[in-house]
């Protein structure tokens, strides 16, 4: 969950508080953020407080959580605070208490209980379906468009791939996000781009959408409106068509732009209704629900729409077999593999030190390679390794990929990448050990502590705002 969630979360955190107020007006946004961005415990807190009239005293909240889960509690509270969902107040008798902030609370209650406000979850199109679009059609459309975008980036259009008409807007967006660069009329993928193409689909879509929201602001569209429209899209239902009536011009424009990416489908830009595709409806699901159906449909053109289709088999001797004929997938695999043979439906190759080294020089990380292999692992590989793990009844988690291979890929990266850099702040010059210890423990509890030395009375944090606030509140 964490990997694909972090980017939208980071983006949201960077927004000013007033933006949140506006965003949370929409029940669909409140629901999407609740579902997608919060850890389990934070969800429990929000729900427990949602229908309380008075703020919940912090001491009660502390009593509710087990003492050995203090870290999870503080982490949950910290995220809730950063997203402006929870705030602490002082009650009449001077007790510190926390409550769910209002636009968010009332919107979430509306989402749960329904309201009279007509539009918050889209209007189903009433027109009878004379030209029925099936879910399979939508998946096919989404796959074609999305592969088109990725294909454009890695430059497979010359390899016999049907050319998808990418609009100018899409190309500009990819450039603006530094995923590709244009040099002498030639598309060149950047380091960021390489990282991007190997991510799972959900993360990719979020990445693009955030770029889109950022660029929307630059051309004068209200980014809050675009963002809340995206959250609305994510709560629509696959296979249903929705009415465009009553939508604002910004929303209509967004819709047309998103159609280019395959996130929504409409018969023509001036059709009266649109269909969300799987790319949209799984935006706020966890990666698990997504990795099966959507990436399945996006994987191999050979078997579109079959849930859970992986196509890569990797053996402990680093040989790789990929059952695909998609030029896109083949060129992705060739980024980190020495390909040897190509058959009509199969390519084989070997992952070697040199091939991984080559990939890392391009800016691809070992994590990205491993997660790509994992996302696209052949069902046979999953089954086989799951079976082995249970028979040996070890307590180790079941690994889909051979552990030797994943470890070795990581070692190959470390060989090159000999240092780990974390940006942040070093706190030092504490006058006494006690002065040092409390903020240090606080930093650890909210999950920002990276390094500490009791002897030197120094510690290093990845985010300093809360620690500074904490220090101020104590001095």
């Amino acid at each position: 969950m964490a990997a694909s969630m972090s980017r939208p979360l980071e983006y949201l955190e960077s927004l000013p508080g007033t933006t949140f107020k506006k965003l949370y007006q929409q029940p669909s946004t409140a629901l999407a953020i609740f579902r997608r961005m919060l850890p389990d415990l934070a969800k429990c807190f929000v729900m427990a407080m949602l229908y309380l009239k008075d703020p919940l005293p912090t001491s009660d909240l502390e009593k509710w959580v087990r003492s050995d889960s203090k870290r999870q509690r503080d982490n949950a509270l910290s995220i809730l605070g950063r997203l402006h969902i929870l705030s602490t107040t002082l009650t009449d008798n001077n007790v510190r208490a926390c409550m769910v902030n209002d636009p968010f609370a009332s919107s979430l209650r509306q989402a749960l209980m329904g309201s009279d406000d007509a539009q918050s979850f889209g209007v189903l199109s009433q027109t009878s379906n004379e030209s029925t679009i099936t879910v399979a059609d939508l998946d096919e459309y989404a796959r074609r468009q999305w592969e088109g975008v990725l294909g454009y980036m890695v430059g497979t259009s010359g390899l016999g791939q049907r050319d998808i008409n990418l609009s100018k807007g899409v190309k500009q967006l990819l450039q603006a996000g530094h995923l590709v660069e244009i040099r002498n009329h030639h598309v060149d993928i950047t380091k960021d781009g390489f990282g991007f193409v190997l991510q799972d689909v959900n993360t990719q879509v979020w990445h693009i959408l955030i770029l889109y929201v950022e660029s929307a602001q630059a051309i004068g569209m209200d980014s809050v409106e675009v963002l809340s429209f995206l959250f609305l899209l994510s709560s629509l239902e696959l296979g249903q068509s929705y009415d465009k009536k009553g939508m604002t011009s910004v929303q209509l424009r967004t819709l047309t732009d998103l159609a280019d990416f395959g996130i929504v489908y409409q018969e023509s830009p001036d059709a009266t209704r649109f269909y969300p595709t799987r790319l949209a409806t799984t935006l706020t699901s966890d990666s698990n629900a997504l990795s099966t159906p959507a990436s399945g449909s996006l994987n191999g053109p050979g078997q579109p729409g079959i849930p859970g289709t992986g196509f890569i088999i990797i053996e402990t001797n680093y040989r790789l077999y990929a059952y695909t004929s998609s030029p896109l997938q083949i060129s992705l695999i060739s980024l980190f593999t020495n390909l040897k043979y190509r058959f009509p439906n199969l390519v084989t190759g070997k992952i070697t030190r040199m091939s991984v080294r080559r990939a890392i020089d391009k800016g691809i990380t070992a994590d990205q390679i491993i997660s790509y292999l994992l996302t696209h692992a052949h069902p046979q590989l999953r089954k086989h390794n799951a079976g082995q793990a249970t028979s040996s009844s070890s307590t180790m988690p079941i690994s889909v990929l051979p552990p030797t291979v994943t470890d070795q890929i990581r070692l190959w990266q470390l060989e090159r990448d000999r240092l780990k850099a974390t940006p942040g702040f070093l706190f030092k010059d504490f006058s006494s050990l006690a002065d040092y210890q409390t903020p240090c423990e606080y930093a650890r509890d909210i999950g920002v502590l990276v390094w500490k030395s009791d002897r030197k009375r120094m510690f290093f944090v990845s985010r300093h705002e809360e620690v500074v606030a904490f220090l101020k509140s104590r001095s």
């Binding site: 209007v123 296979g239 859970g308």
Partner: protein, 392 residues
């Protein structure tokens, strides 16, 4: 950064989190609801439960829900309902039903609305189909049947989910050999990757009514215990002996509501957290569990009874002919005429040879360790409702 060693394999896939399946069993016994009509009308309770269900679905895109009614003469599905041309897992569902209700309510998240409509409609069907005879001839509720329905659905969904996701196979979790004690450390990890199921019983009927279902109920409870499915009980009125045991055996949450008007708040705070979150929370559990059993002969709830030493069947008095009704073993009641006073452990051995003897079995109703943490939460929640349980 030579921090890699063989014992710690690098694994990306473990962060995926399995959704959870919540099965709500609503006790729809009209006799019992009539008694708390003033504090919490049935319609309002159902509305609250629906909000709670929505909250559960809101927590995770893939979360699932099932609702069973435990009615007077039968146990019935409220959601999902199969004979409505609607498949349980199929939320794309089409259909006829959109016609009448589509207009006014579009402001609601669609999957929430579908469930609400379905539950309300099936509830109406259920009440309409209850004849006056049913009403008069039954006063209890079919809890055992509902539990069985819930369990079979959970089993089906667990298998289906595991097949779709290649996760842990249900027979591993259920493991006929593994059982109760062996599971713990590694089991928690395993559980995270299979569908997480739990059952919530909203109960209003008293215990004396359900004594005749003692055996099937205990069987369901043991099944849950083995499958590690917690049974949560939210008791709106009365106090049911067997439900306390159900929670205790399956490590579920038991709350008896002193103030039924705060129903929704109790649901949200006490029952919404799923198994994963519960590891971090102090949950309200019953500290004085009523471990009484019902006898096999007359279905009476007994404090002290006779236990067959062969098959452990319980009887309130020695059965006729001194033969165990369950296994048929000849037993010797000796001179323990059944009324020998109050000591709960009495074994007066005279002859060592067959016929086997009766054992006296009994439980103290107030046994159980006192957990200071859980007491704290009970107090917190009570405080909340003394001050402001009001819903917005």
């Amino acid at each position: 950064m030579d921090t890699i060693d063989a014992s710690e394999h690098y694994e990306l896939g473990t962060t995926e989190i399995a959704p959870s399946l919540l099965t709500v069993i609503i006790d729809t016994n009209p006799h019992a609801w009539a008694t708390i009509e003033d504090a919490l009308p049935f319609s309002k309770a159902v509305a609250n439960i629906l909000v709670f269900i929505n909250a559960h679905l809101a927590c995770n895109y893939a979360n699932e829900v099932a609702v069973v009614a435990s009615h007077l003469q039968k146990a019935a599905w409220l959601y999902p309902v199969s004979h409505h041309s609607q498949k349980p897992a199929d939320r794309d569902g089409d259909v006829v039903m959109n016609g009448d209700s589509n207009g006014p309510q579009t402001s609601k998240y669609r999957s929430f609305r579908l469930i609400e409509e379905q539950v309300n409609r099936s509830l109406k069907d259920l009440l309409d189909s209850t004849s006056n005879d049913d009403f008069r001839s039954n006063t209890s509720t079919m809890l055992a049947g509902s539990l069985t329905l819930a369990l079979s659905n959970i089993n089906r969904r667990t298998i289906a989910w595991a097949e779709e996701h290649g996760g842990t196979k249900p027979d591993e979790v259920a493991g006929d050999g593994g059982g109760l004690a062996t599971a713990n450390g590694s089991a928690a990890v395993e559980d995270d990757r299979s569908l997480q199921s739990r059952i919530l019983i909203v109960s209003v009927s008293g215990s004396s009514d359900s004594a005749h279902q003692y055996i099937p109920m205990m069987n369901s409870i043991f099944a849950c215990q083995r499958l590690r499915i917690p049974i949560d009980v939210c008791k709106l009125s009365g106090d049911a002996v067997f439900l306390q045991q159900a929670c205790d055996a399956t490590k579920g949450v038991y709350m008896s509501l002193s103030e039924p008007r705060g129903f929704l708040q109790y649901l949200m705070m006490g029952f919404l957290p799923d198994q994963r979150s519960r590891r971090h929370l102090v949950l309200p559990t019953r500290i004085d569990v009523d471990f009484r059993a019902a006898c096999f002969c007359h279905r009476r709830v007994v404090d002290i009874g006779f236990v067959c030493s062969i098959c452990l069947s319980i009887f309130c008095e020695p059965p006729a002919g001194n033969e165990c009704l369950t296994c048929g073993s000849p037993l010797d009641a000796g001179n323990l005429g059944g009324k020998t006073g109050s000591s709960s452990e009495k074994e007066e051995e005279e002859e060592e040879d067959p016929p086997s003897k009766w054992w006296f079995g009994g439980w103290d109703a107030n046994v159980g360790a006192c957990d200071s943490d859980s007491r704290a939460l009970n107090i917190i929640i009570l405080d909340l409702f003394n001050e402001g349980w009001n819903l917005h």
